[in-house]
């Protein structure tokens, strides 16, 4: 089994930009490393791969277009509005959309602290419900449950029921890095004290399809900004249809196809 160097994601995984600085490689070694790179970025979620696939409409949010194992991602909406507005801010959809491609490729996923999963929506996004475990009400044991899941599940989405202490958050992040799982945190109102590897912030959102009684909700256009550390330090602005017409997701501007 491949053993990753602890606490240090391999720098060349996501960027096929060439050899790391300070190392001269001959052509043969270059090709070998390219082949290795291709193997790693192959959209198969075996535990050997360093990345997990992400659905193409979301790819632009991630360096290298895929989810790097061992990283923590925080998803949030605008920091305002009523409780009902926050539930509706799109972060649940973004979190579910992150799981879709990896789930379809065989990864196991878990949702911790989401008591009201809309399972039909999860299915429409492409999540395989047979490999989705839901821990609706972990209550005080949320951190312990999350830690256990990180040990065995590729993607763990955490909706912390209580504000986490900094040390606790850091322990979970370190555990995800060590076990090479992806931890997605949807902190909502309680917050998340540890700066994540990547933060996805939902900006604007607009619904189409409903009018004054006629029609049906058809799709939601939203902007998502990704900011992160290291290679992801530059903010990436992205536009999405989430959900898109008929369920699922699509990339595109507000004038894009349905």
């Amino acid at each position: 089994m491949f053993v990753a160097p602890p606490h240090r994601p391999v720098a060349d995984t996501g960027e096929p930009g060439g050899p790391p600085p300070g190392r001269r490689l001959d052509r043969h070694r270059d090709l070998t490393s390219l082949a290795r790179l291709a193997e790693r970025t192959r959209p198969v979620s075996s535990s050997q791969a360093r990345v997990l696939p992400v659905a193409p409409p979301l790819g632009g949010l991630f360096p290298g277009g895929s989810l790097r194992r061992g990283t923590t991602i925080v998803v949030g909406g605008p920091d305002r509005g009523t409780h009902a507005d926050r539930v509706a801010d799109g972060s649940v959809s973004v979190a579910l959309a992150l799981l879709a491609a990896a789930s379809a490729a065989g990864s196991w996923c878990a949702l911790v602290g989401l008591a009201g999963l809309g399972a039909v929506a999860a299915h429409e996004f492409g999540i395989d419900l047979a490999r989705l475990a839901v821990i609706p009400r972990p209550d005080a044991a949320w951190a312990e449950a999350t830690a256990l899941l990180i040990d065995g599940v590729d993607l763990v989405v955490l909706f912390p029921p209580f504000p986490p202490r900094h040390a606790l958050a850091r322990r979970l992040v370190a555990r995800a890095r060590e076990r090479r799982s992806v931890l997605v945190v949807v902190p909502g109102r309680v917050g998340w004290p540890d700066p994540p590897d990547l933060r996805l912030s939902i900006g604007e959102a607009r619904w189409e399809g409903a009018g004054t009684g006629e029609g049906y909700l058809a799709r939601r256009w939203m902007t998502v900004t990704a900011t992160g550390r290291r290679s992801a330090a530059l903010p990436r602005h992205h536009q999405l249809w989430l959900p898109s017409a008929g369920g699922g997701m699509a990339g595109g501007s507000p004038v894009g196809p349905a």
């Binding site: 009523t82 009902a84 509706a88 801010d89 039909v120 429409e124 839901v134 449950a145 607009r206 004054t212």
Partner: protein, 363 residues
């Protein structure tokens, strides 16, 4: 609903080996029959008789209760009460009260959910913060049927005073009480299922996940980990159900094909509230909007308030759609669904008995 007098003999509720309790209870029934020939034995220790006729004859329910109590007490300790429907009447007997006609729902409201005799339902409701029959009854019926199944819906009708009796109070079906919390032995089952390759073939990934989930079940109890199954239905709460991890079924998830008239087309809401949130929908005069008997909105939605929060401006809406095919049936409470957009947010509302709820959110 029948108005019933119930006689409850607390010492005779359990049969004893030599049958003495049953023989005493038979004498109680005989004594009560002196006032009314239509005495029904509900179960050992509890019998009922229709209240209306005898009450007229003996000058009211008060005097009737007095006479029945005296007759029964001559044989064994007895509690007597009157209410609409057997379920409420048994509770009325325990308190020795006469519940006024039509007052069943109010009488039942403060009782704990546990009196319905459905421990799994009570536990689930407790975790949702609902502890009394009144709280349970306040939930919209269309939502309850989807979330809590037909037993839950029967309990919901009883809790709201709309039905007099649970499925079978007389003879608890064999097997219902056999499943305790501890017997499920979930962790081992889940672990075994994981190792035997739940989905096509043994895989390292599946085994690893199975072990992690088993560990979480040890931590939180077997109900702590659930998995979703899709099923046919109209409302979002009906279209999927959660089963405990250890009880999951080995079948691929396919959305069952319709037709489900009234089902709202995709996309589906990503959040289906386990307990619907109270909502208020008003027109530009601040008047509550509702749905008419013909299934039309009575006003133009202008502002929406959720859980008594600030009122948000309604920017678009779609619907209403009747929530089930028995919309016109008189035995069924009318309910309808409405999609409401407030700026960037969108919710699926349910209206029933003139009250609005946020059943799901396009989160």
């Amino acid at each position: 609903m029948n108005r019933l007098v119930v006689v409850r003999c607390p010492d005779l509720l359990h049969e004893d080996e030599d049958g003495a309790a049953l023989r005493s209870f038979a004498r109680v029934v005989e004594a009560v029959e002196a006032y009314c020939p239509w005495v029904t034995t509900v179960r050992p220790g509890i019998c009922s008789l229709p209240a209306r006729g005898p009450a007229r004859y003996f000058g009211g329910e008060g005097p009737l209760v007095q006479l029945v109590a005296e007759a029964a007490s001559a044989v064994a300790a007895a509690e007597v009460g009157v209410a609409d429907g057997l379920f409420a009447a048994v509770l009325a007997a325990r308190g020795g009260v006469i519940v006024p006609a039509g007052g069943t729902a109010d009488f039942l409201a403060p009782f704990p959910v546990g009196v319905l005799g459905q421990p799994e339902l009570a536990e689930l409701l407790d975790r949702l913060g609902i502890r009394t029959l009144g709280g349970f009854a306040a939930l919209p019926e269309a939502h309850v049927l989807g979330r809590f199944g037909s037993d839950g819906a029967a309990g919901h009708r009883v809790a709201g005073g709309r039905s007099g009796e649970l499925g079978d109070l007389r003879r608890p079906p064999a097997g219902r009480r056999t499943r305790g919390r501890g017997d499920t032995a979930a962790p081992t089952t889940a672990a075994e299922a994981g190792q035997s390759g739940f989905w096509g073939g043994v895989s390292d990934t599946d085994a690893r996940a199975g072990r992690a989930l088993a560990a979480v079940q040890v931590l939180l109890g077997p109900d702590g980990v659930v998995t979703a199954h899709l099923q046919g239905g109209r409302g979002p709460a009906q279209r999927s159900r959660f089963v405990t991890w250890s009880a999951r079924e080995a079948r691929p998830d396919t959305a069952p094909d319709g037709p489900w008239p009234g089902q709202i087309p995709p996309p589906a809401p990503s959040v289906v509230h386990p307990v619907p949130l109270r909502a208020e929908l008003v027109d530009d005069d601040g008047k509550a909007v509702s749905v008419s008997a013909r299934g039309l909105l009575t006003g133009t939605p202008y502002r929406l308030s959720v859980e008594e929060g600030p009122r948000s401006a309604v920017t678009a809406w779609a619907g209403p759609w009747p929530s089930d095919e028995r919309w016109w049936s008189r035995s069924r409470r009318r309910s309808a669904r409405l999609q409401v957009v407030t700026g960037p947010a969108a919710h699926l509302l349910l209206v029933e008995r003139g009250r609005w709820w946020v059943e799901a959110t396009y989160g």
